[in-house]
């Protein structure tokens, strides 16, 4: 067993009936690995980590990891997570959501969790599609792309989660991809470590439901696409409009230090206590 595999095994639940639900070539397993390595790197005790997942393929990650885990409802993971974090600020709360989960049915919760800047790490696994329900379009399905519910091509514009998170007030906003696993791990670690709301969008291919319908011949083609088109922010900024077309920037897009909501709440409570004692 390699060192990395050994680490991962320390954090998997061995009473959970494996194999996992993910299809061959799915990006979600790489996210699972990155998440585990991030927690390990940070040296967080398992008891201090709470993972709150939404519904969808990504949501199944929660059951596999040996932390405190909640598989919540579709789109609402951040609301559960907010209740958990505010009730026990010592817990490191990590949300795992899909793109439909976080930006369609849960869009409002995402905006408000970012606005509150509550110290939660939100990982949005973006595969541009509803995987588990059979390949319907999501708010991040690119214009023109095929899905079961856009058989003639997606007419609507895709959501830009990075812009959304920044505008709503998240302290930390990053976009990574499963092809660049080391970079991704760094983003997840940073999001966990920093105060306030951390949003990490993760480009994670779904060959089964997206790739096959959109001219990718194999899962490997999708990773090759990421390699060529997920460009570091610094290079992206130097690109011409024309070169940017069809590409997507990855990197860190907001790094702020505003205290998290739980911190501000604790300060308010302390102030009230002091006033009452006076």
């Amino acid at each position: 067993m390699s060192h990395v595999t050994e680490i991962i095994h320390q954090y998997l639940r061995h009473n959970k009936k494996f194999p996992h639900v993910f299809c061959p070539g799915c990006g979600h397993g790489i996210v699972l690995g990155s998440l585990i390595r991030s927690v390990h790197e940070l040296g967080l005790p398992k008891d201090d980590v709470a993972v709150v997942a939404g519904i969808g393929c990504s949501g199944r990650i929660a059951a596999y990891v040996d932390f405190n885990t909640i598989h919540s409802t579709h789109g609402r993971a951040l609301t559960f997570a907010t209740g958990v974090k505010m009730s026990n600020p010592k817990l490191h709360v990590i949300c795992i959501m899909g793109d439909g989960d976080a930006t369609a049915i849960g869009g409002n919760h995402l905006i408000h969790a970012a606005r509150r800047n509550v110290s939660i790490t939100a990982l949005v696994l973006n595969n541009n599609i509803y995987g588990m329900t059979g390949g319907q379009c999501s708010p991040t399905t690119p214009e023109g792309a095929s899905a079961m519910t856009t058989p003639y091509g997606q007419l609507e514009k895709a959501f830009d989660m990075v812009e959304l998170g920044r505008a709503a007030g998240a302290n930390y906003v990053a976009r990574g991809s499963v092809f660049q696993a080391n970079m991704l791990e760094r983003f997840i670690r940073t999001a966990i470590e920093r105060p306030g709301f951390g949003l990490v969008e993760i480009l994670s291919p779904c060959y089964t439901q997206f790739g096959r319908k959109n001219h990718f011949k194999t899962p490997v083609d999708m990773y090759r696409w990421l390699k060529e088109n997920a460009v570091p922010r610094e290079s992206w900024e130097k690109m011409t409009e024309e070169k940017r077309r069809g590409r997507i920037p990855v990197g860190e897009f907001a790094i702020n230090d505003a205290p998290g909501l739980e911190q501000r709440y604790a300060e308010m409570a302390a102030r009230l206590k002091e006033e009452a004692e006076r």
Partner: protein, 385 residues
């Protein structure tokens, strides 16, 4: 009720709204988390919690972006070990149904207060109604047991809020406290006993070492112990049908075990859960069955009937679901007629008919014009029965 001694308890008097009494009761019960969204006619509960919780030891108040989020946060808080609640009214209650189902499935103790107003839809925001009764029972999808309580005056608002928390904790279940706009917005003198005058129930936490703990295992009471998140018992909670370890299952035997336990943990404690009050029932020929503010009108209507020589009685329901079949039947005695007045088209009268129509004539008295059912209306119905 839940007081520990028969002698006059220690406490203070208060001139309070029903909604204020709910907040008072919640704090007595040990509620330390409120997540909510403003809506008439329940908002006073939220406003009081916003003022009180931040000043109290580890109290957390959050105004969320909608009612779905409110109950989501409440569930998260409860899983983290808090006694948690929200309050709402019809439109918000509709939005909460999704998470009421989650709380049933994941056995999450919490209290939802629904101050009923006229519906459907936006309806009558400042007028009373009792149109959410069957929604409280069956509003969330799927087969499930649930506890629905009610209160008919301000004093009961306080007591029944404490009872709601106690039952939620005891049975690891969401409890819905159904009030109506009149009860919530009536201001009257109540007695607030000191917190230690109440029997307060806290959820059972596991005593075994974490490696032995199975979060959804059968127990004598049918209620598995529940540790707060982060206390060393790492387990999985899901809204999916799950096995004893909390992991999703599709196995018919495991599915049946879970579902039957969820029902049994409530069913076998009917005597503890099904609360009713009676008034002049012993020799009554005509019995009124009522709940909420209507029970109050009914009491006066029954007294008016007694004065005019008619043997009338009242059974007022503090528990609506599981429907208190046996306590009701015991009190029917030799009655020849039952009248069920309510501010809807017959949501509880149907239940009463179901359990009693083989022994007594059951009549509904319905009012749905946004106004209260008066004592005179009830007196008239008794006279004509």
């Amino acid at each position: 009720m839940s007081r520990t001694s028969a002698k006059r308890p220690k406490g203070r008097e208060m001139f309070a709204l029903g909604n204020e009494a709910v907040a008072e009761g919640a704090l007595i019960a040990g509620c330390t988390f409120y997540g909510g969204y403003p809506i008439t006619p329940s908002s006073e509960i939220m406003e009081i919690m916003a003022r009180e919780l931040p000043r109290r030891e580890s109290g957390v108040f959050l105004q969320m972006e909608d009612e779905i989020a409110s109950l989501g946060a409440v569930i998260g808080a409860s899983l983290a070990g808090r006694k948690a609640m929200t309050a709402t009214s019809g439109p918000g209650f509709s939005l909460m149904q999704e998470h009421i189902g989650y709380a049933c499935m994941a056995e999450t103790p919490l209290v939802v207060v629904d101050v009923m107003r006229g519906g459907p839809s936006t309806g009558l925001p400042t007028s009373p109604a009792q149109g959410d009764v069957q929604q409280a029972r069956w509003g969330t999808h799927g087969d499930h047991p649930i506890i629905v309580l009610s209160a008919s005056n301000v004093q009961e608002c306080l007591e029944m809020t404490v009872t709601s928390f106690n039952m939620a904790e005891k049975y690891r279940t969401p409890v819905i406290l159904l009030l109506d706009e009149i009860t919530a917005h009536t201001r009257e003198k109540i007695f607030v006993p000191e917190p230690d005058e109440f029997a307060i129930f806290n959820r059972t936490v596991p005593a075994m070492p974490p490696e032995w703990y199975k979060p959804f295992e059968e127990t004598v009471r049918g209620v598995p112990p529940m540790p707060p998140l982060g206390s060393g018992y790492r387990f999985h909670t899901t809204g999916l049908t799950h096995d004893v370890n909390g992991f999703p299952t599709q196995r018919p035997d495991e599915i049946e075990d879970l579902m039957l336990r969820l029902f049994r943990k409530i069913d076998q404690f009917y005597p503890d859960i099904q609360l009713v009050d009676d008034h002049q029932c012993e020799d009554a020929e005509i019995i009124v069955v009522a709940y909420g503010s209507v029970a109050r009108s009914a009491r006066l209507g029954v007294d008016m009937a007694r004065e005019s020589g008619v043997k009338a009685g009242l059974v007022s329901l503090r528990t609506l679901f599981p429907f208190p079949r046996n306590p009701l039947i015991q009190r029917l005695g030799a009655a020849r007629a039952v009248i069920v007045p309510e501010m809807n088209m017959g949501q509880i009268s149907r239940e009463v008919k179901r359990v009693a129509s083989n022994r007594v004539q059951v009549r509904a008295l319905n009012r749905i014009d946004g106004d209260i059912i008066t004592p005179t209306q009830i007196y008239k119905a008794i006279s004509q029965a």
